[in-house]
Amino acid sequence: MLVANVTGGTFRDPAGSLFDFEGSILRLVKPSEVGRFEDMLRSDVLARLVDRGSVVGTRRLEAGDIPDRLRHLSGTWFKHDRVPFVSVPAEWSAAMLAEAALHTIAVNLELVRHGYILKDATPANVLFNGTEPVIVDVPSIEPLIPGRDVWVARHQFETTFLLPLMARIEAGLPIQWTLSDPVAGLAHEQCAQLLGVSRWWGMDRIRHVALPAALTARTVSGRAPASAPASPPGASALRRTQYVLERSLRALHHTVTRYADRIDRRQSHWSEYEGTRDHYSAQDLTDKRVFVAKAIDAVSPDWVLDIGANTGEFSEYAASRSAVVALDVDEVSVSSIYRRARRQGHAIHPLVMDLVRPTPASGWKNSESKSFLQRAQGRFDLTLMLAVAHHLRVSGGVPLEEIIDLGCSMGQKGLIFEFVPVDDPMFSAIARGRESIYSDYSLDKCVALLEHRGRIAMRSDLANGRTMFLLSTCS
């Protein structure tokens, strides 16, 4: 999330700054904006949205509760409810991006109906509580201006929500790339170049890619905007504005829904994994499931990190008692995990991530947005590394010692580790004849490394040659 040093919080919003101070999320609002901000906080529509969990809860901080180190800053302090785990849009699957987009439109529609509107719209303003999207940029809500029939943030919504989603589905362009800057996103001209001639195929693409890209070339100079509407804005102007905006937002909702519906119809090599998993016999699979269930029950974690979650089967087991963050390199698989978790009400937060190259810190001075490892620090009680170590070793080129080190450091209480030997068919498939260079990778070495980091509380040798470990890292 946005990192702030004490002398300065976030700086992009002219209305104020956000601070992450000793576990509290504090917002400083400038004196000139406080009146409007508090009026908005007191409104019925916001109370309803907060109640429903659609917008993050916000309350004014009493003078006595303001931290001493921040007292010198002028303005009024507010405190936000904290979302327990923060992910950045570059880590989201298409399903999560679509959900965040629809949520933003739904909240905006409700706001417009009651005389408010969002002044900006980017996935950076949305965090997820498990599978539930929450709008956290509360100062983004401002009063509607009667007579202004256009949504100024529409352009930003399109470049940061719609176009990256479109590019992912139509052209396979990873969200990780288009949303590396979640405030800028993918420009209309870039998307037009990406789609080529096909940008003229279908009303959605014409309206959102081809036309805007074509019109951007022209300058809008020479026509000074009028300073005031020709007739004084009255109730009729407000109603017209609300009418126009509602129609526009509903149409946008339909467009995003059309793309969201296409997400589930995709397939990938990994999403078909369960059907092609013949290196496990039925008995091996049962043994593995029994082991993992017993191990999770033994640790009894509050937060679980599932590395290489694939279909999310083990995340789902863990989610019956814990909050889970599931990682996988395959976006299609992650989208499926998200959709299923949302349907079943599990608190699983699935992300697209290659742990060999986790999300770095980014933004101004590389410190506006924390890296994944920084955000995960101290968060998880248990880490799962099932059927993934050989990928990290072979495809990632990471030594076994480092793999185990990372797994242990992420889980405060323990690590469930599945060791895949060199002669395993899956290992051979990815090593492709280079098995000899993996001399450091043996079961004995693995046991030695694990025992160096903690106590092997449980162990099971499966019939297919793989070995399951539960390592307890509690001191």
Binding site: K119, A153, Q156, E158, T159, L211, A226, P229, S248
Partner: protein
């Protein structure tokens, strides 16, 4: 060149109409710090202009139907209800 009075009046009315149309769809991005974008803003403005016109036609039609009912059909239904046309007037927020 000297213009006739009628033509001048018509011209000034047309300019006023154009000015009010432009004013209605023009952008005043003073408060927002977000780049509204030129291309997509133009598309949005065009569609908003059409939708705005539709709003007024709808209002005109509703007012016309109310007048028809009151004067021509001699009914005394309160203005704004649409029992005959069967569609609701645009709902404002009322909670």
């Amino acid at each position: 060149m000297v213009m006739s009075e009628n033509r001048r009046r018509a011209l000034s009315r047309a300019s006023a109409a154009l000015a009010s149309f432009l004013a209605v769809v023009s952008v005043q991005p003073a408060v927002a710090y977000v780049d509204p974008g030129t291309g997509s803003m133009l598309v949005q403005m065009m569609i908003a202009g059409i939708a705005g016109a539709m709003f007024y036609f709808r209002e005109l039609r509703l007012q016309f139907m109310t007048w028809v009912r009151r004067v021509v059909l001699q009914r005394t239904e309160p203005a704004g209800t649409t029992a005959e046309t069967g569609e609701k007037p645009f709902q404002r927020s009322d909670d």
